[in-house]
């Protein structure tokens, strides 16, 4: 049952008083945890997370949300729901340890 509205400020003040000592530390902890995730969800080129990335899912690649002006932005521009995209992470046995391709035989 909802408390009468005139009691809510008092209750809130009591709650604030009880939790005031831990609020700052909780907030600090939350910020410490969330900040890198938030930064990972943004990019300095206007990218955004794909909407299908769940909270526990691996971080999905970013797509470019703005008006593409170059090759990288064009190929990674965000697409509408009607466009099928496939996230494939293949096993590449001959890939160099630094991620580069070896020369052709």
């Amino acid at each position: 049952m909802t408390k009468p509205s005139h009691e809510q400020p008092r209750a809130l003040m009591r709650l604030a008083s009880i939790t005031s000592s831990i609020t700052s530390s909780v907030l600090a902890l939350a910020l410490a945890v969330m900040a890198p995730l938030a930064l990972a969800g943004c990019s300095d080129d206007g990218g955004k997370q794909e909407p299908d990335a769940g909270a526990d899912a691996p971080v999905a690649p970013k797509c470019f949300e703005g008006t593409p002006t170059n090759h990288e932005q064009l190929i990674n521009a965000c697409v509408g729901a009607g466009v099928e995209k496939i996230d494939k992470r293949p096993v590449l046995p001959l890939l160099n340890s630094d991620g580069t391709l070896p020369p052709l035989p």
Binding site: K88, L94, L104
Partner: protein
Amino acid sequence: MQHPWAMRSPVSSYLGRALGRSFGRSLGRALGALGLVALSSVATAALAAPCEDAPGTKVYMQVGDTQEPLIKALGRALRDNAPNPITIVYVTSGSCTNIDAISKDTPFTANMGYIPSTAEDPAWTPAMPPIACQPPTGGKVPDIANSNVFVSACNLTLPATIVETHGPVQAYVLAVPEANTTDKAITFEEAYFVFGFGAAGGIQPWLDEAQLFIRTVTKSTLLSWAFNITVPAAKWKGTRLDKSSEVVTGLSTSASPGKALGILGVEVYDANRDKLNVLAYRAKGQQYAYYPDSTASSTDKKNVRDGHYTVWSPTIYMAKGSGGAVTNPAAAYVINMIAGRSVTPAPAFNPVALIVGAGIIPDCAMRVTRDAEGGLLRPYAPPESCTCAYEKLATGTSSCQTCTTTCATGTCRGGFCEER
């Protein structure tokens, strides 16, 4: 007497430098042989009439064989085009050979073929061969030459007297047998290892080189893919086949459908969707793999048009001229029509419909372009958009506003309010 095309041509010298001297010599011989093969397609009538006797204004063309369906359909429509009837006289040959011919004024001396009007042959269809004819004495330098790869891909440079126009876009795909419902996509890196290393590349499930159905080194399908995955055409592993139809047969009749993989022009895949599945492709630096179309089952070529699917080349049309203007007015009429531009007088048919019917994408429907084979994409705004008309023709529907004369925004063209 040895046929001139069988001799070592200047093209082999250019390609020799590009691809290695020994391979260039082999390719030169191959181009000569291909020229003979191409000649044979229209040179079957020993007693062919002179091409100059064909009715009306004539435009001589030397085109790649992948564009023959478009040229036949367009040739028929142009011959019947009451506002400006034109007879297309053409021969097919390799892209690099065609560039070389128009650059150096090399006359074509063997038989060519022309498309008859409906009045001349009402039963003729684009599925039939053209009517063989003899070029003028001394041969004929083509009014229009076509290449399905960039001029630079042949290591050639056009003289200033040749105007280069980009025509419809030809996309290429990697396809698997319909029985393979497991594999949906392939990445740039996987393709590099599959075709560059073969079985040694270790990319599952494409470890059997006999099940990699590829094309010979002069084919635009192989050349375009070669530039896109950075594996030179001569170094590809797999079974080299002369014709796209052989790739389709190899895939569709494979005894190991889970291991089979082949390269095709997208229009060939589209015509064989009941036998094959297309793979989505993830280019270098791309986050996801995409099909040429929005989905595996759609036909809108959306991802080609907006840059999400990267394996395509513009078809290149070349003719004499200066300052971007083609000198021969009939040749200009044909080229502008192929490029999706308005022409005067307006034709009695819809050129965009013929282009879409041939399975290629008109330049006016593209929103990206590139300057080299497999090169970086950049945004593109065609002078006269035909996106609405394209989507209607390719998919049967369009979300664009229809019009009769004017639009609140954009330009009324072909019954749709186009972007410009």
